[in-house]
Every structure is written in C-alpha cells, then in structure tokens.
Amino acid sequence: MRARAAALLWIALSVPVGACDDEVIPPSKTPSKVLVKEATPQERRDAACKAKSLPTRESIRTNDGAPELPTGTIARVDVDGASDAAAARSAIGIAPGESLTLEKTQNAMRRLFALGDVDDVELDAKPSAQGVVVHFRIVPRPKLGEVVIHGGTIYDNLELEKALHAASGATYDPNTIMTTRTTLVDALHERGYADATLNVTGERAQDGAVDLCVDLHEGSKVTIDSIKFTGLARIKEIELSSTLDTDHGRINAPGGVIDQGKIDEAISKMAEVFDARGLAKGTISTKTTRNGDKVSLVFEIEEGPVILVRRYEVKGDLAADAGTYQRLLSVKPKDVFSRAKLVADLKKISELHEKKKRTDLVVEPQTQLDDKNNTVDVVLVVIDPKKQKLTPPPAPPK
C-alpha cells in the first residue's frame, strides 16, 4: 500500500496537471494563488529614483548549448521578434544554400542589433538532415513606464524630457540617454557650472517597462577671481598670458569661467616660448584653488637652465657631401637648443633626400644632454636601411 502511494506521488509530480487521471491523490489543501501586489505609480517612481544605475538585462548563461557552431550548408534561416521582418532579413544577409561560418553569424547579429530599438539578439543553430537551421530571435527594447524628471533653471523638465527622449511610452534607449547626459553635463561645465551633475537611474517594472528618474543638479556658476604666473625669471608674464584665449573675457580671465581645453592649448603655445629661449627643461603646471563660487588659477612655472648646443652635426650614410648638409642646418654650436629648429632641420634634410631621389634614407636624431654644464650634443644620423646588416638572432640556450 505504501509502495503504491509512493508510485502515485511520483506520477503526480512528473505528469503535468492537465494530464492527471482520477487515480491521483488530490492535495490536502488547494494551493493558494501567489499574488504579487502591483506597485502603485508613485511606488514605481520612488523605486526608479532610489536605483543606483540604469536597469540591465539578467545575466546570460555561458555554458548552454553546443560548444561549436555546426558546419555545413544552411537549410533555413528563421527570424522572430523583428518589428520589420524585411529589414531584419536584409540585415542577417545569409541565405539557405550558403555555408555557415562564425563570421557570418557574428556579423548578422551585429547588424541586427544596429537596426535600433533592439535590446538583445539571440542565435541558435541546429544541424538537421537537410542542413543547418539558423534561428535569430530579436528582443525589442522595452518602453518607458513611469518617468520622473527633476530639472533645473538652465535645462527645465521639458527640455530634459525632449533631449533624453524620456517621455512615458517612448522606447527605452540607454545609449542615447548616456550620450545625451554626457553632452548636457559637458555643456554645463563649459558654461561655468563646474559642479553640475545629471543622474539618470531606473528600474525594470513588473510589466516589463523601464521606469526612469532624471535628476539634474546644476550647482552655482563658478567664476575666476584671479590668474597668476609664478616662478618667472627670464620670461615675461605677458609672453605667456598672451597665449591664453579669453574669448573677450568670457573664459580664462577674471570674471570668466575656466575652459580647460583652451588652457591646454595655451600651455602648448607656452612650451613653444620656452623652446625658443633654450629652456628645454622648463615645466608648466596649473593649480586651481576653489573658494565658494570663485576659483583662482595659478600657472606654476619652473624655467630651468638655458641649454646650449655644444655639438650639432650630420653623419652616416650621406646622400651628398657633408658641406651640403651643414649649410641646411639652422643651429650652430653655442646657440640655444630648440626642438622646433631641430624638427625644421630634419625636414630640410628630408627635402634634400627627396631631391636626390633617396627617400629611403632615414634620419635618426641622437641627443646627449650634459646636466652639469647644461649643454647638449646633437648628431643627426643618416641611415641607409639597405646597408644595415641583418644580424641573425643569437642561438637559443641549450
């Protein structure tokens, strides 16, 4: 009797409910339906704003399926989930009769994703008697459900909704949201709102929609109260300050806002001033000190010593006599060392090689700095690659 009951219980567990026959012992209690309380719109909005990031799809299983793509001729290509079946088929670009390769399926998946409004693309490929059956499944992006927007004075709620395509019912596009978010924050920083942040978070709701929360903090406008240069001895301040683009006082000037890109450009120009004066070891760094809505900008300069040229010559596999090369050089011993002049001389040598139809020649500048005497030896070595002996690699250790 006990054995029969056990057998019946096994049947009850393994047979689907609809297939029960009257031999099955009915459960003592009718199972109560598990009710999941649906969140109210306000609860959903709160959850979206409490989230730490945008929602992601669940983790995929990495060990499912056969390890290798089946080889052979494609028997059939199926696709489902596409909003435009013709566009999807065209994106897949593989047809029955073709041979199946990994490159083809990977390209097809990438092109399907690039169609837009696609959250996921899945592929399964199965061998059959007629060939390989390839099946693509497209998972469309979810729609936006509840949307909360906390705008500011520069970008209000409506502008943010428009820019981020964040209206309820629109397609959830996390890439566009992130790209737009970056653009908006960059624009605020450029306008002097150095502390501006734009948080976009969300949650996937039970109905599959994505609830979104957009929270803009503009902060206050930070303006420059002073710009100073420290450590100057040989160079005058005006020589450096004139390299700063201030856009009529709007940027990088007292009362204006910091524009880091223009500061970086100015530093490159300042380096040229250093180079022309032989200050090859000079350094420029910037320091900003924030005090409430004000910021002071300091260019900290270390000029270093003036570096003089001790030796400056051309040697190697010359394409003309040494005098021809010497006449091209713009630097002579005891001149201040300048990288710009060195580059210009290299260009002149290349032009000479072009005239001599020896464009195969390579010029390698070798510099040797003497820190004690603050001098530099520069040798421009002309190398003929054809004359370079190919040295065989040493024999491997036994």
């Binding site: 983790s59 290798e68 399964d124 996390p174 040493p394």
Partner: protein, 214 residues
C-alpha cells in the same frame, strides 16, 4: 514490422538528442556596439590555452573578466577612431620582430611556435595591434601623468630600505636608481590608464551580461 517501427523511432530520437543547438548571445553592450558571447568564448579559449586548461573549465567570473577586457578594448577602439589613430601593418610587423628578438628567436619561428600552442598568427598580430593602439592613446595623455622627480625616487628607496631585513643587503641608491625609475614609471602608467578608462566608462553606456561583478 513492430521492431522496424521501434528502431526507426529510436533512431530519430537519437538524432534529435544529438542536435543540441549552438547558441550565441549579446554578452555586453558598449555604446551602440555589442560584444558577443562567441567573441568572449574565443578569447577565453586563448586564456585557457595559456593556462593549459579548457574553455569548459573557465568559470563565469573568468568569462566576466574576459568580457570586461574586451569592453575596454572596444572603448579604446572608439577613442582611436575619434582621434583618427591607426596602426599601419608595418608597425605591427615591427612589434612582432621586437617580440621575437626579446625571445631570442626570429619572427617566423615566434609565429610558428605560437601556432603550435594554438594561437593563430592573425590573433597574435591583432593583440599586438591593440597594444600599440593603447600605447599611442596613452602617449597622448602622458601630459596628465604625474612627473617622477628625485624626491619620488628617494622616497621609494627609503621604503625599500624599511622592507629589507638588513639595509646593508640593499644596493646603493645610485645603483638602484634606474630600476626605481622604471618601477615608478610602470605604476604611473598603470594609474594613468585606470584614470583614463574610468573617464571613458563614465561617458559611455556599458552593460555587461556575463556573470556578476566581483
């Protein structure tokens, strides 16, 4: 007749059981691009080979690490495209030569040995191309790297002194200066890369669907 039907039915059943489908999925999203599970598996297989293991022995945590690395490469590729930075084939060939020289062998032997270990020449060259791209991008940002001065070197030397049992065993500062410089340079470069990657990540939509973050 009954037996024939049974065999036929059994035969068909066996064929179906063998036909486990091959599956591919989106393993990660980087901006508007995807990283496929098949790409992750292929790279993980290379990792497995270097560790004398098989792909099936690679855990989800390792696959996630591999995916993270591919995501970073995609970020670098996007940045290289934006800045129009490319690596011509001759630079890659030169890198192969250098790698061969450092292994005391010729390029051909190096590529042959790699193939014998399951790494195709094309994959090795692609890995070198990615390294060269990363190098070029880092050079562009080198002005943001903290400078190494004498004080930094001396501080590092003092730290080494404290770590050795008997400071007399330690080489002099002048003897170790070059080594200290290269050690610090490596650390600063690593820091530069990490900061840069964090900036790129903050500006791009990234979703990794393999494993869970450690």
């Amino acid at each position: 007749m009954i037996l024939a039907s049974f065999v036929l039915a059994f035969g068909l059943g066996a064929a179906d059981a063998q036909a486990v489908p091959y599956l591919d999925r989106v393993a990660a999203v980087v901006g508007d691009q995807v990283v496929l599970l098949s790409e992750v598996r292929a790279r993980a297989e290379l990792v497995a080979k270097t560790q004398r293991a098989t792909l099936s022995q690679m855990t989800d945590a390792i696959l996630r690490e591999v995916t993270e690395r591919i995501v970073e490469e995609k970020l670098e590729e996007r940045e290289a495209q934006r800045l129009k930075i490319t690596v011509p084939p001759e630079e890659i060939d030169h890198a192969v030569e250098q790698l061969a020289q450092s292994n005391n062998t010729s390029s051909q032997t190096l590529l042959r040995n790699a193939e014998a270990q399951g790494v195709k020449a094309v994959d090795l060259k692609e890995a070198l191309r990615r390294q060269l791209i990363e190098g070029k991008l880092l050079v562009l940002r080198s002005n943001q790297m903290q400078r190494i001065d004498e004080k930094d070197l001396k501080t590092r030397y003092e730290l080494m002194k404290k770590q050795v049992k008997d400071p007399k065993d330690l080489k002099t500062y002048d003897e170790l200066k070059g080594e200290l410089m290269s050690e610090l340079l490596q650390e600063r470069l690593q820091q530069l890369r990490e900061d840069w990657m964090a900036q790129l990540r903050a500006r791009t939509y990234i979703e990794i669907r393999v494993g869970s973050p450690s």
